[in-house]
Subunit: 230 residues, 2 copies
């Protein structure tokens, strides 16, 4: 809706491209802003396909769900306002089968009451009450991220590399214990407790197989330097 700043149009388009949304519709963009934006870095594919409309009603004519964005500052809002976490979930569900529009107001004035009346409901990004108003390009990025984020990913562990086996750990343990003995860190009287200390230390390190090999190499070199056959 009536964006004034070419950087903002470009930034919105770039975020769309980042997250895989390609249908940008501009309502009454300032001509200069629109011309300048067309060359925005990384947003060309989206900007080339962008369509320009005279009014919001035309822009969303083929959409079955129209969601506006608004800050809570506007207490007079008559619309249901959903936080992005909840609203995003609804849009993901609905958007799978029906065309959905996400409407952002101009940087300066937001959405007019007339624009709002064309929206089914409103989305609110959970910003601080003391500083609610987001930059347009950033607001677009945050909303689209919510739409593509995969809740199942939150529960998934990192794709782990193989962990070190007990045999690999005990090879390190031997080298380590030998070094501590040769260096005078452990005395015969404390050798047993030192070994247990090293063993626990190694487990807490939670070594991957690759890192275990690195450690083994380093410790072997130290042992060689201290005159112990590896």
């Amino acid at each position: 809706m009536a964006p004034r700043n070419p950087l903002n149009i470009g930034a919105a388009a770039r975020a769309m491209s980042n997250f895989g949304f390609f249908d940008l519709r501009l309502v009454r963009p300032y001509d200069v802003a629109w011309q300048e934006a067309r060359s925005a870095v990384g947003a060309v594919a989206v900007l080339e396909r962008a369509k320009v409309f005279d009014g919001l009603a035309d822009a969303v004519a083929d959409c079955a769900l129209v969601v506006g964005t608004a800050s809570l500052g506007r207490r007079e809002l008559r619309h249901p306002v959903r936080r992005l976490e909840a609203g995003g979930r609804l849009i993901r569900k609905f958007g799978a089968s029906e065309a959905t529009a996400l409407v952002f107001g101009s940087e300066k004035f937001g959405l007019s009451n007339d624009d709002l009346s064309l929206c089914h409901w409103l989305l609110r990004i959970p910003t601080r009450e003391a500083h609610e108003s987001m930059n347009l390009g950033q607001a677009v990025a945050v909303c689209l991220y919510e739409l593509v984020r995969d809740p199942r990913e939150a529960a998934r562990a990192v794709r782990e590399t193989r962990r070190a086996t007990a045999a690999e750990l005990s090879r390190i343990e031997e080298l380590f214990v030998g070094l501590l003995k040769d260096s005078g860190y452990s005395q015969p009287a404390t050798a047993g407790s030192t070994r247990l200390k090293v063993r626990r230390l190694l487990r807490r390190m939670d070594l991957g197989a690759a890192d275990a090999a690195v450690w083994t190499g380093m410790l072997r070199q130290l042992a060689w330097k201290l005159g112990r056959p590896a």
Copy 2:
């Protein structure tokens, strides 16, 4: 890390303020960029407190968790890479008790291998593989949103206004049925089925109490115009 564009510094600071993060640390910002950024709209509180460092090691010296940001394009990465959904969850948990740093690279070069080696693990925003690279300010906004987003909100229904009661619906039903009769829409023979049709129609509308009152007023006026005492 070495941001070049004052707009990007300002945008990052604004997103921080939006989402309630106030500790901005800049590593070797270009002097001009840094001076210009200080006046960025809505970011003054963050920029005034920002600290400048000569290297990443100094900047994160007091942090117990250092998380870098990276795109998958860099296949040589030796670090565990977590998608933002999963990584954000870890940071929320960890950050509650320990100082955590989120590290963003310069717009042009990202993070160097030296910088990366100071990170415990890396965060990846789930952008399209064909267009991974995000604008700096937008990447900051998306990451911070993930940190403040409340998973419980996703399940929460909109704070509903009171729904219309059955009595309010049947008042509308009466008015509606009367209008359909007076206008010739329903005939005596079909009056019963028309009433059921209206009843189901009203339930599907899922009216709030306020909207029920609006409907009642409008239908009353129409009934009055058609000569039926309301």
